[in-house]
Symmetry: D2
Subunit: 338 residues, 4 copies
């Protein structure tokens, strides 16, 4: 932690700060420049971080030196985390993992038809929402437990795994019962009690970046989960909110190589939510693979005209198959399989 003092800071003010630092069990080092004096605080930064040093008289600015997350950081763990989703499937290794399925679970028939196609095309995990976060109270809110049951049945019959969203801490056991991977949605990225809840789960967590979350906050939310005991966190970039309205969100692919440097956790990209437009899904999926994504989450629906939600960003099963074959050579170009 570095404390930059105001130009006019007095010796009394400096002494006051140094004393406070010592009371916290830390050491300080004073450096007098031409225009400013700076105090370096040496010791565990976590201790100082929660102190409102900015309000001390004479202080102009406080600059943290370390990232506020530890367990999620590449510094803490040098090698990539490879997270098992089942005895045979894991993410974070050489193989790029595909999560595919409809936005919402609508009926068992539809889910089965999508499940069969995506499995055949090479997907490993079936996605589908049983609990749907919808910005309007008048929109379809999901089938609830019935939807979870369909997901499990279709996955078991087709040889897929299940990822589905948990929205409410009271549903944790229910979702755990049906899902292989628990998804935390973008709108719950800072629902800290929900993060603690899945931090206590044995199931891997699929954590979607909030539309307003910085990469730093995204990794802090992962830290919540890991620090509560669950190291199996998969990060998913799904678009941030910017001034641009021509796309639903701005899919931030920069986050992929950036997070791979800052953290050891696997990174998945969701170009369906990230762009909101089915005809941008293919190009952005390719781009995601090219820049190092460990997986993709893609919405597939046999009849987008009739989808209960997000029809405008879903691929037809046929288009999903085509995309899979187009992704293979790009994956190979960056030393991966798909």
């Amino acid at each position: 932690m570095i404390i930059v003092l105001k130009r006019e800071a007095t010796q009394g003010e400096i002494d006051h700060i140094v004393k406070k630092v010592e009371q916290l069990g830390l050491r300080s080092m004073i450096s007098r420049g031409v225009e400013r004096t700076i105090i370096g605080v040496i010791g565990d930064e976590a201790i100082v971080r929660s102190q409102p040093l900015e309000v001390y008289p004479g202080v102009e600015r406080v600059i943290p030196v370390l990232a506020p997350y530890k367990l999620a950081s590449r510094e803490y763990k040098k090698e990539d985390s490879v997270i098992p989703l089942s005895p045979t499937v894991s993410i974070g290794g050489r193989k790029i993992i595909m999560f595919a399925g409809p936005c919402s679970v609508e009926s068992k028939e539809l889910l089965m038809s999508v499940g069969r196609t995506v499995k055949e095309a090479g997907a490993e995990v079936l996605r589908g929402g049983a609990f749907k976060p919808r910005s309007s109270p008048y929109d379809f809110q999901g089938l609830g437990e019935e939807g979870l049951r369909y997901l499990r049945e279709v996955a078991d019959e087709t040889g897929l795994l299940v990822v589905t969203e948990l929205m409410d801490p009271r549903d944790t056991e229910l979702v755990e019962r049906y899902a292989d991977v628990i998804q935390i949605g973008a709108r719950n990225i800072q629902n800290f009690n929900l993060l603690k809840e899945v931090g206590n789960s044995k199931k891997p967590v699929f954590l979607k970046r909030g539309m307003m979350a910085t990469v730093r906050e995204f990794l802090l939310s992962a830290e919540y989960i890991i620090s509560h005991g669950n190291p199996n966190v998969i990060l998913c970039e799904r678009g941030i909110r910017t001034f641009e309205t021509a796309t639903r969100f701005t899919l931030d692919l920069n986050a992929v190589p950036l997070i791979k440097r800052l953290s050891h956790l696997p990174v998945v990209v969701d170009p369906s939510h990230g762009t909101g437009k089915y005809n941008l899904v293919g190009p952005m999926a390719k781009a995601a693979v090219a820049c190092g994504a460990d997986g993709l989450m893609i919405e597939v629906h046999p009849n987008p005209e009739e989808a209960f939600s997000d029809g405008e960003q879903s691929l037809l099963p046929r288009k999903f198959k085509e995309l899979m074959s187009e992704l293979a050579p790009i994956a190979a170009s960056v030393g991966r399989t798909i």
Copy 2:
């Protein structure tokens, strides 16, 4: 709802859309321009809104005509909502209501000292967090029920009311037991199950705008609460996230007069969180009153150097008193009291 067709849309595609519209029990009206054909959909827009019309062949763009919220809209209710917080205090009328207190509840002594001062200075509601949403798992997370109890005791002794944050649907009854007004924090603006929960409560809800929520989404979240049975929603602008990093957030005062036109609900401004800097709190509080805010929420702490959270944006009790006296003539200038 207006459907703009692609230049090259065929008659068959137009017929297909018209048929779909009729199946939904609505009427359509076709208008052929020089460069585009447009289909106006007449009838209940809520029915069409959830249809993914954008994926229909021939469709270029779908434009909703009405706002997606109803009960929260000024159109639904012309006159300002005046919301009772207690038998003697209400918000939305001529008097500007002050919500003041520390960021977190830290101890009963401290809370009592702050409570006494803010009451004396003219505040009606004591704020203080018992459950704290903190972006780092290593930061102070609040005193929980103990904090709620202190809030109630201090409020009762000083003649204040209590507003405090509910973060978890499992704590609803607990918070209701102690609080007069239930706060939903910015990070939970789209925690829809929590919104439904307080929609079933008898207590007024203090809903903070998410740092990434558009005014439209903010009003949709209010709609969730109202449509579940609780009409007593107080909206609070507390800063949005922008590219500017010199302030913690960008307090968006434009939202005050804008929401007053779009909705009948009262609007409070929180310049403490909105700016993150104690020396900007005063000027922005004045500006909020000048542009029509119905209330202010302000953080007050007797010793910001020792605050457990947000010390850098808290006012000293003495400064809060000064601010109150500076606000009075501005309130008078816009026909209000404080």
Copy 3:
């Protein structure tokens, strides 16, 4: 300047950096913490700022300590700058200065009619664009020199001063001939050659914040002008671009008290462009005065239905008069006149 090293930085890397710092004529001070070593660079920060120290082996991050602007800073000049616009009118003192008029100069008659009303209502400066920056090549581009002539004639007849935009360095002398204050528009905030040009002018400069400019960049653009010899810079907040689309821009009033702390220059607010909606102009004008603005720029048009540009954000002359009388008590509340 503070250089934070990577955890694994070697002694050789540290020596390499220290040597570089010494070659620049500066001193370095090494501070070894538990997790990181930090090098403080002592001496003129401007020298180090342009060095790409981030690419040196072993370096994790480089943190500047000082603001990159000097002449524009409050540290350089403690007291408020009071800038003379004419022998009798100046800005930055107790009196709040009003800049009012139509968006574009359309005809002499119209300008005269607006000029008379705003003068009568208490405005000091007539605004109006002769050269218009329009995002579409098919929109009205301004009357050019004819417009400048009308501005001068109306100002002289009514006793107002003239502020008008300079868009092209080739027009500098022309605009100087007619205007009392030269406006640099938001889209030219980083048109550095234009900034240098007005830095050589004897006329005061009215510099509008770019819709994407941070406060730091805004002050750096002012620094360009001052460092080229013209200290008379008036800063104007006119709305930034954010994710919110309900208003044309997000008028950032936080910038007013923030800039007043960081800089000695006067700050004007333009709620017409900042909100893009005539019914938000009044409330935001009041808020601007309440939070410390030194002036306001407001668009006035007698017949917004027929305006060549920005009709939707113009006030009727009658409404402008009303606003002036509503602003007076707010100005008085903050110790100002208008």
Copy 4:
């Protein structure tokens, strides 16, 4: 153009609008819905666009139907524009074109060394700034004409073409004399006089997206150039400004496939400026190729530690060569060469 009326709009207000529309030589079509009446305006939308219809009594909202740009649109020209840069090199076809070189021209020796390497590695165009837009007046501002001369000499000797930035309309002839392609920088995206100037040039224009420009505004700026007579516009995505500060900008790759749908113009991606970090340049360059970019602009410097500007985002010549060989199979995967 669609005009949505207020719920309470009167027949008199409707008649007033219809009359105005007819005076403009257009037709209107009234559609009365359950909650709103809508007026469709039929005829040339450009005529209505500049009318401030929003201020007419009874009007709630005005919605344009068509994009405001024409000549730049895919609708105007179905097939991709292939733009000749020289008799033998063109962009927009099957071959992906590489623009590479240092940020600034610093010396002839350095430029020659970079030029030789990038040519050898497969680049077609040498980049380098002779006039530098720098946010601080105290930073290196470029070598001016001397820099232009070096660019030309190195290009001629190595068999490359030259792209370089024009910042000032007064330098147009000078830059045209030395450059094959004229660059308009991000900060000048709405410097409309400069756009008109290059609209009159015979040389192709390399137009960089502003950090705050929507795709719509970006295409409108291209429209300025084309409508003044120069159809040879190359668009360059180089990062937008968002709330994320971990990268210098947020490179918006979504814009690539989106613009390819909306426009016939070629799209280049600049991952050096777009990310501001040399270790993200490679992954994002690969992603750009994968999602359909027609070219890449990449900063290369033999000694980033000594670069006069942007050293932290420059690749070493050796790394540029490696990248070129890594890009080749990705280009092949999407049916392109490089």
